[in-house]
């Protein structure tokens, strides 16, 4: 009976060790991104198989894009607040509301244009096949997002 217990415990220990070993080996590189880089960018490097040089160039582009993006975000917030104030003041569409809506739409188009420019630049920095894959993926997630279809389905 002692031998039976020994064999049973050895089997269970082997299973646990096998599970933990392969799990640790398979997820170790995902847990700790390179120091100094955002985990999202580390993911981009991993997902699109970027070399260190490509990753460095894309990281610099990303920083540059985010700086401009922050400024555009400030404009969007400002326009949204203005629109909210106008909407609260009346229950009909005034010329000011029309203009604010048009400004918001223009701002959105400008944002999307800048985003697309960034996507194209980033994709051209990647190896061609990965660049194409990145472009398809990121366009589907942003400018071609199916949010409206989902809204109608709900």
């Amino acid at each position: 009976m002692k031998r039976l217990l020994l064999v049973l415990v050895a089997g269970l220990a082997a299973a646990v060790l096998g599970y933990c070993g392969i799990y640790y080996a398979g997820t170790a590189k995902y847990c700790c991104p390179a120091p100094g880089s955002a985990p999202e960018l580390a993911w981009l490097k991993q997902e699109f198989h970027l070399s260190d040089a490509e990753f460095a160039r894309i990281s610099a582009m990303h920083e540059q894009y985010l700086a401009g993006c922050a400024e555009r975000c400030r404009h969007i917030d400002m326009k949204n607040r203005e629109l909210a104030r106008l909407l609260a003041a009346t229950n009909t569409i005034t010329p000011e509301i029309e203009k604010a809506l048009a400004d918001c739409a223009l701002l959105r188009a400008e944002c999307q244009k800048k985003m697309l420019e960034h996507f194209y630049t980033v994709s051209q920095t990647m190896p061609p096949d990965q660049g194409q894959r990145y472009l398809t993926w990121v366009q589907r997630k942003t400018v071609l997002s199916d949010t409206h279809t989902e809204m109608h389905h709900h």
Binding site: A15, T27, K141
Partner: protein, 111 residues
């Protein structure tokens, strides 16, 4: 009353026992009944004990014990591999969504 002689009694008893013969015959299927009762007793043994006894007998063979350990090791490796795939897919999905939120102002909660 005359006291009895114990030695004489013993001799009488011994002689009587030697001469005594059992005339009664065994009931029919006596032997089968005995085996049936033995088997029935085995059946009443707790399941875990019977299982432990069988496993113990099986694992007495080193090849079978090694196979059992190897099989569990393989099961652990496969489960770990599957879990890695699931975790990677989830992390990839999350990181992808976070990347998109970083670059698309209209997907941030602010706007």
């Amino acid at each position: 009353m005359k006291p009895e002689n114990p030695l004489q009694n013993d001799e009488v008893l011994t002689r009587t026992l030697r001469e005594w013969k059992v005339e009664a015959s065994l009931p029919p299927h006596f032997r089968d009944e005995v085996w049936r009762r033995i088997e029935h007793r085995d059946l009443q043994e707790p399941v875990w004990l019977a299982l432990a006894r069988r496993l113990s007998a099986a694992f007495a063979r080193p090849s079978l014990a090694a196979s059992y350990v190897a099989l569990l090791l393989l099961a652990g490796l496969l489960a770990g591999f599957w879990q890695v795939r699931v975790t990677r897919a989830q992390m990839s999905e999350t990181m992808g969504a976070r990347y998109v939120q970083m670059i698309d102002p209209y997907q941030r909660s602010l706007h």
